[in-house]
């Protein structure tokens, strides 16, 4: 029952939210709904974690051979947990922000959550596609209605990109469907396919491009900084904290096990592009003056490493990816919260217009410094373990791949410390003269995130244990 609840709660509460005219009601209602979802995830982790409670299967479109079938494995549990944590954090930290037609805003946010949950749960390809779209469509509206000045152009770009990706993926899914003996979309049938080398090599790209756009992988990334910059920060948090994980998740669940030969053929190319993207995005991040764009490019660099580690195809690297999917979500949401606090209070995101904020907002400074240290994977923060394992994986694949990708950890230090320095250090400037520390609710949320950062940095084992089964089956299946 757990998987169904995870989708139904946000879906139904989201639909209700559309009819809430009062802003406060919409906010508290959606915060409540998201907290309930989180509680359900926890109960699925600790209480109702038997197989029959974490899977669900019923008829859906019998004529098409598609079933409404959901399952939670380790990776699914981890990502639904991340999704469930993110939404209340986002709602609470942006509680003071106000939106026109807030009922629709929060309604769309909850629909996105339902879609995300579905993506991480579906074990039927058509169902997966359905949820993939359910997660994306609300974001178009969120960005185009509540975004910044250039929202229309930017949403258009975002739309073109993801739409092309979706179409390719749909074509790929249909192709696989026709290859199955029993005309089924079930993941097991797809895993059992024995595709010819020729079709593998073609259809692989239909899926890969769709997922690569979502992550994104260089050179398919240019929608991301623009979209992150123009979207309302609450949406940006979800986009970068959770939605990019759709792409990574899909690589592991829906791509690599189905096309083993194609993966063997193309993994080198993909790893090369991932690594180019890491260095490229880091270089650009160093030059950024806008906090949001800086974080966006930094995120592209980090995602590049995850993609490379996946295609390195070894256990250690994949375990690193698992951990890092969660940790990256936590860290990047924390960074966005700080960016939002600064923008809401001072009305700018330009590093060149900031300075000396540490004197006015010492608590915020400390919290951002810890999150930044996590962003550069300093040991005893959560991302160190993930990056460490991913780099070992990459190293086992090829020494040079690890060495060149490793340059990004130097560049990460450059742009991250630049950011801290320009926001917080130095003398105050006219803008920051009268600044004050972050509000209490935001502070507490950041403190919780920082505690998670350090706890998982010192003792990452819970995440490792949670996702171990996925890693093991991933390699057994092949």
């Amino acid at each position: 029952m757990i998987p169904v609840l995870l989708i139904l709660i946000p879906l139904l509460s989201g639909l209700v939210t559309f009819f809430l005219k009062d802003e406060k009601a919409a906010k508290s209602w959606s915060l409540l709904a998201s907290v309930i979802t989180l509680a359900v995830v926890f109960s699925g982790l600790f209480i109702y974690n038997h197989n029959n409670e974490t899977t669900f299967d019923t008829e859906w479109l019998p004529n098409l051979g598609s079933r409404f079938s959901l399952a939670l494995d380790g990776m699914g549990k981890m990502l639904t947990l991340l999704t469930a944590i993110s939404f209340p954090v986002v709602f609470a930290s942006t509680y003071k922000n106000s939106y026109k037609q807030s009922g629709s805003f929060y309604g769309l946010m909850l629909l996105t959550q339902a879609g995300l949950m579905g993506v991480f749960l579906a074990s039927d390809a058509l169902l997966f596609y359905f949820f993939w779209e359910l997660a994306l469509i609300p974001v178009y509206f969120l960005c185009s209605i509540w975004g910044g000045e250039k929202r229309i152009a930017v949403t258009f770009k975002f739309f073109i990109y993801t739409f092309i990706g979706s179409l390719l993926m749909l074509a790929g899914i249909l192709f696989l469907y026709f290859q199955t003996a029993d005309h089924s979309f079930a993941i097991k049938s797809l895993y059992n396919l024995h595709l010819s080398a020729k079709s593998q090599n073609t259809v692989f790209w239909l899926f890969f491009i769709a997922f690569a756009i979502k992550m994104p992988i260089f050179p398919l990334h240019t929608w991301q900084p623009d979209t992150y910059e123009q979207s309302p920060t609450a949406v940006t948090m979800i986009l970068s904290g959770v939605m990019v994980k759709m792409g990574i998740f899909a690589l592991i669940r829906w791509l690599i096990p189905i096309f083993p030969e194609a993966v063997a053929n193309f993994s080198t190319v993909i790893i090369i592009f991932s690594i180019i993207g890491m260095i490229y995005a880091s270089q650009i991040a160093i030059q950024q003056d806008d906090i949001k764009r800086l974080i966006a490019y930094s995120s592209i660099a980090h995602i590049g490493l995850m993609c490379a580690a996946i295609f390195a195809q070894n256990k250690i690297g994949l375990e690193g990816v698992m951990i890092q999917m969660f940790n990256h979500g936590i860290n990047v949401i924390g960074l966005w919260i700080v960016a939002d606090v600064i923008e809401q209070q001072l009305g700018t995101r330009k590093l060149s217009e900031l300075g000396g904020l540490a004197q006015k907002a010492p608590t915020l400074a400390i919290l951002l410094v810890v999150l930044s240290l996590a962003n550069i994977a300093l040991p005893l923060t959560n991302s160190f373990v993930g990056e460490f394992l991913m780099f070992i994986g990459l190293f086992q694949y090829n020494i040079w791949a690890a060495a060149i990708a490793g340059v990004s950890i130097i560049l990460a230090a450059v742009y991250t410390l630049n950011m801290i320095q320009k926001i917080f250090y130095g003398n105050t400037v006219s803008l920051t003269d009268n600044a004050v520390d972050a509000k209490n609710n935001v502070q507490w949320i950041l403190i919780v995130l920082v505690v998670v950062v350090i706890v998982l940095g010192v003792y990452p084992q819970p995440l490792i244990n949670l996702t171990k089964d996925t890693v093991n089956t991933f390699f057994v299946n092949r």
Partner: protein
Amino acid sequence: MNKLVYLVPLFPLIGFLINGLGRKSLSKSLISIIGCASVLASFVVSVILFFDVKANGATVVDYFNFINLDSLKIAFAFQIDALSSLFLLIITGVGFLIHLYSTAYMHDEEPQHFGRYFAYLNLFIFSMLLLVMGANYVIMFIGWEGVGLCSYLLIGFWFKNDNYNYAAKKAFVMNRIGDLGFLLAVFWLIEKLGTANYADVFAHASSLSSFDVTAITILLFVGAMGKSAQIPLYTWLPDAMAGPTPVSALIHAATMVTAGIYMIARSNVLYSMSEVTMNLVSIIGLATALFAATIALKQNDIKKVLAYSTVSQLGYMFLGLGVGAYTGAVFHVMTHAFFKALLFLGAGSVIQAMHHEQDIRKMGGLKKQLPITHITFLIGCIAISGIPPFSGFFSKDEILAAAFAKNPIYWGLGVAGAAMTAFYMFRLYATTFLGTFRGTEDQQHHLHESPSAMTIPLIVLALLSVIGGFVGVPEILGGHHSLHNFLSSVLTTEVAHESAKNTEYLLMGISVAVAAIAIIFAINKFSKKPELEDATGFGKLLENKWYVDELYDSIIVKPNTAKGKFLKNIFEKNIIDAAVNGVGRMINYSSRQLRLIQSGLVSGYILFMVLAIIVMVLIWVNDGYIYKFFYNLF
């Protein structure tokens, strides 16, 4: 004794948490007490552990699995053996003295920043302890980056000054370059041996190919270059003098910068297996020792002289490692910790007496007003110059003797460097303490000896600088070299390099004589006529540090910035994004032509969705047709 091990890092960690969280509410005296007591407590435990190791040998304590995969286990474990217990004593002992000194030196800070300072300092001690206590390379790396972070935070402690912030960032980034080397070495070990535990790595080292060993040791050495400021990654250390002076003493002289030496000494089993790496280490070490010494000859900032001197002395330690004198290098780490911490703290005392003046050209004649600082500083200078029986003599002599056995040219250059060391140190001493006062009247009025919280550490360190060498008196001077015996369980006995007794006496005599001549010359020259003008000609080159910073700036920093700007403003915008926008425009255009999309993207999207649904329905109605279509397509 195993039960006590975790207490060593725990005390400073608790100190960090209390001072860090309570910095706004605690009083300065309480902060001082917590900061100092936590380090003192770990010193006491360290002493107990030290004697336990001496009596019962090494021990490894396993706490929990930091990373536990089927194929890789990395334990959070501490290894207390001769090497680490010696470092524990240095870190907590010298660390405590510097904490004590700081209580007076930093007293003018606001309580909140005073607390922040001690929190950082305690966090540094904690990280440094992890670095030396770890039982595998991963824990060492945790401490390694931890001390780098603390160094960053403390160099930029006065964060209102942007120059200091740049210095802090430079230190961190340069260290990260080295860290990448360290990490790759760890990956390499894990790839080849499946473990990063010292015990397992060294036990199975013989199964590594010689290429692997050379690559691993060179990569580790790259890490050491960053942390221990060796050519080409040394330029951050002089800039790091932006931090408060006690920080320079603790982090940038006595402890953190010697982490590279610790790491190589720890890995001596691997290093001894690679002749190539050993040569590289000795050459880089020697080159750094000489190069930094030449720069120190012409510096006028009291802390800069000491900073370049530190770089140079670290070079000597690497020379020692490279020629196989592991004990000698560790010995020099110890004596250097005493006399260099002493010199830095003495400099701090001078700087405070001079109201934050650091230019030695504006000092002079401080001997009278600062008697304790003067005498202790003089002791430090004698010790670093290698005059017997002060501590620096024994450790430096051991390194030079081993260098001679390896290659007499190493020895010759090493002695030349030692002569420069004696010269610049006594130039510094004479210009600062001898002659007449050259500062303002106001400064002269306020000249005073520092409070006892500052002079006591000076006196203790001076004492250690005098007697610290006696733990390593070589046999030809009638000693037993107890340090060597103590460390022999961890450090491989170096290659036999017994020179004839007479040769050894001769070598010693030459190096002492050369140093003595340099000292006399420097005192004579600078006590009467200090260099007050800016240098010209070759001196100018030295004063400007061979323009290495400018060189790095023009061959690395600027091209990289230009590349980044090009990627951001031209490549990303005009090529990648333009291609995407082109596709977008094309779709937009064709859509307009087809009049499919009239007023915006969302309706268009829904339309496509409808199309997709139609496709699905088609499949549902007659899948044979589409099936054939796809089949033919591929």
